[in-house]
Symmetry: C2
Subunit: 339 residues, 2 copies
DNA sequence: CGCAATCATGTTACCGTTATCGTGTCCGGC
DNA sequence: GCCGGACACGATAACGGTAACATGATTGCG
């Protein structure tokens, strides 16, 4: 194709000279905007192609004061929850010309501030970020930025602009309800010890609240640090059950450790769900292939991603009261007694 | 803090006026560049903070002709392989001021072209992309872009600029070697039917080549479409074993379906690894908590991510011959007979 | 046939920041 | 007291596009 290696990066001017029209016309052709005759369009396109011109969005963005990016700020990649959310977002953004850009905070508020600062410095068209709890600095930035902000995953709190998610308090309460209805009474909880994982905290709160209404208290709880894995689930389950052997139900703060616990209990020959019930949270695809299907709650991740994307893309208006609450869905699975 | 909601976005000029110095000086303060007295620095910083000013990287990037982004282009998020690679990249980029931006191609070459085009239009400082096989258009873009390009995961081929990865032919061959050494002879393969998954293809090629040297041919093969999941692994395993009941080994193209197969075989009461051996590929963390540890090959994803990042960041020079080949590492697990 | 509307293109003025160079001040040394 | 250099800062001109308006050519229509 083009034989000479252009050491100076190509600009509109190069294409304009190569095709004998003004830079403006080239710009119009490349963006399909405004009237250009079929003939010139063709000339310009071939010129651009043979030169190997790639438009400069930095310059374009500055000139037009518009950038086709949506900042997506989430706490972690490692959970299997993220790809679903992002999947929903991308699917919905696909036909809007908008593009998601992901930032990861590792559940660290200072890091969230930094990531947001960085993202906002690109002047994106919108922000989707996980959670309702943010530093004052972060809130201020977002309020001042003057762009659509959708906080996702959680609706238990006050959104900056608007929120799309589920109530984790409700998810916890509903799981407690199901467990109690199934007749379990000595219930243990296993979860991460992360002060910044507010959603896990709220689930536990809702869970305990409902138990409390029934006059029941958690019989045991076990916390862990760091990421979730099957292995961690095994260890913690062994630990909690050796400490409190007569537990009849274990509620895990996510499916991954729940599945690990399930593996361990099955190996140990526990009667599941007869003598011991298990439940996790999220509804990840992983569970579908396990020897038993873990009882869990579908966190509606794809729906949340889609809806959030629709809002930042302006495909639908922000909700009246600023909140879109999906219903967390109980998935019975095989690890809870059915009535 | 600032009471009036500024509808016009803040610029350096606002900070400059608020602090009584020139925009240039504000810029210097905010970037820690050039000589500024401690007093002015302080004034500027407080002004910026109280206004809630966030720099505009669009304008900055245009002016300085530098953008602190590294484009990372990968085929998929869903495999558990991606977070590891990105983890390695982020870890190594963290202290360089560079930031990864991810694009996903879904194993579609036209989509890869589009994603690259889009990424390059942001004029990033470097590109990391998976695989060595690309459309002519993609290769041309990357060659013309005049920036460091690191192709990762694979080294069986000719890199555009340089490559960091493992040889999948070798990974396949070494697994074949281990299987043969363990005495298995009637071997089946289960993998995705994706013409664009070149690495899976190369592994299979290397695998069959080594079997061929021993005078053995694959006794059966089963392909599937779409993403990998435990469930898919179960189905395919059932199918291949009902078709060819006397297989004594199953080689899976990834750990996820391998684990699914393992689950199914265990439930069916197969004697593993005595009568039937199983192996996957990748070495994902997931395997650590399964009832048996699946035999697999560590694809060195974190190492690859780190090394690629070091190269684009200029922390280390490009390799002489353009290639950094890590050794795929055999992980025996529990699903292959040990000698 | 004349005039306005439409089409196809060009001109000009930014967009918000940084590179570069220039200017004024202060200080020490001889 | 003069000079050179470090220091602290400002003025100006890009950077590569696009919005908005201007222009010339063509067309439609009464």
């Amino acid at each position: 194709m083009n034989m000479k290696r252009p050491r100076r990066p190509l600009t509109l001017r190069d294409v304009s000279e190569a095709s004998g029209v003004s830079e403006m016309t080239v710009s119009r052709v490349l963006r399909n905007r405004g009237d250009v005759s079929a003939a010139t369009r063709e000339k310009v396109l071939t010129a651009a192609r043979t030169l190997g011109y790639v438009p400069n969005k930095i310059a374009g963005g500055l000139a037009s004061q518009r950038v086709n990016l949506v900042a997506v700020v989430i706490p972690s990649l490692s959970n299997m929850v993220f790809p679903d959310v992002l999947g929903g977002i991308s699917a919905e953004l696909d036909d809007t010309g908008l593009q998601p850009v992901v930032g990861v905070t590792n559940y660290s508020p200072p890091r969230e501030d930094a990531v947001l600062y960085d993202m906002l410095s690109w002047r994106p068209s919108g922000v989707i970020l996980a959670g309702l709890e943010h530093n004052k600095a972060a809130r201020a930035m977002l309020e001042n930025a003057g762009l659509p902000v959708v906080e996702i995953m959680d609706v238990d709190g006050t959104p900056i602009d608007c929120a799309v998610g589920i109530s984790h308090k409700r998810a916890g309460a509903e799981m407690a309800e199901e467990i109690l209805n199934a007749g379990y009474r000595r219930i243990g909880f296993i979860g991460t010890h992360m002060p910044e994982d507010h959603r896990a905290r709220k689930r536990l709160a809702g869970f305990e609240a409902r138990l409390g209404e029934a006059g029941i208290a958690l019989a045991a709880r076990e916390f862990y640090q760091g990421g979730s894995s099957l292995l961690k689930g095994r260890e913690l389950t062994e630990r909690i059950l050796s400490r409190e052997p007569d537990l009849d139900f274990l509620y895990y703060s996510n499916d991954m450790i729940g599945a690990g616990g399930l593996m361990w209990c099955m190996e140990q020959g526990y009667d599941i769900p007869g003598k011991l019930g298990l439940a996790g949270f999220n509804g990840v695809e992983l569970l579908d292939g396990l020897p038993m299907r873990l009882t869990t709650t579908d966190a509606r991740r794809i729906d949340i991603g889609r809806r959030a994307a629709r809002i930042v893309a302006g495909k639908e208006p922000k909700p009246e009261d600023g909140v879109v609450a999906f219903a967390p869905t109980f998935l019975p699975g095989d690890t809870i007694r059915s009535r």
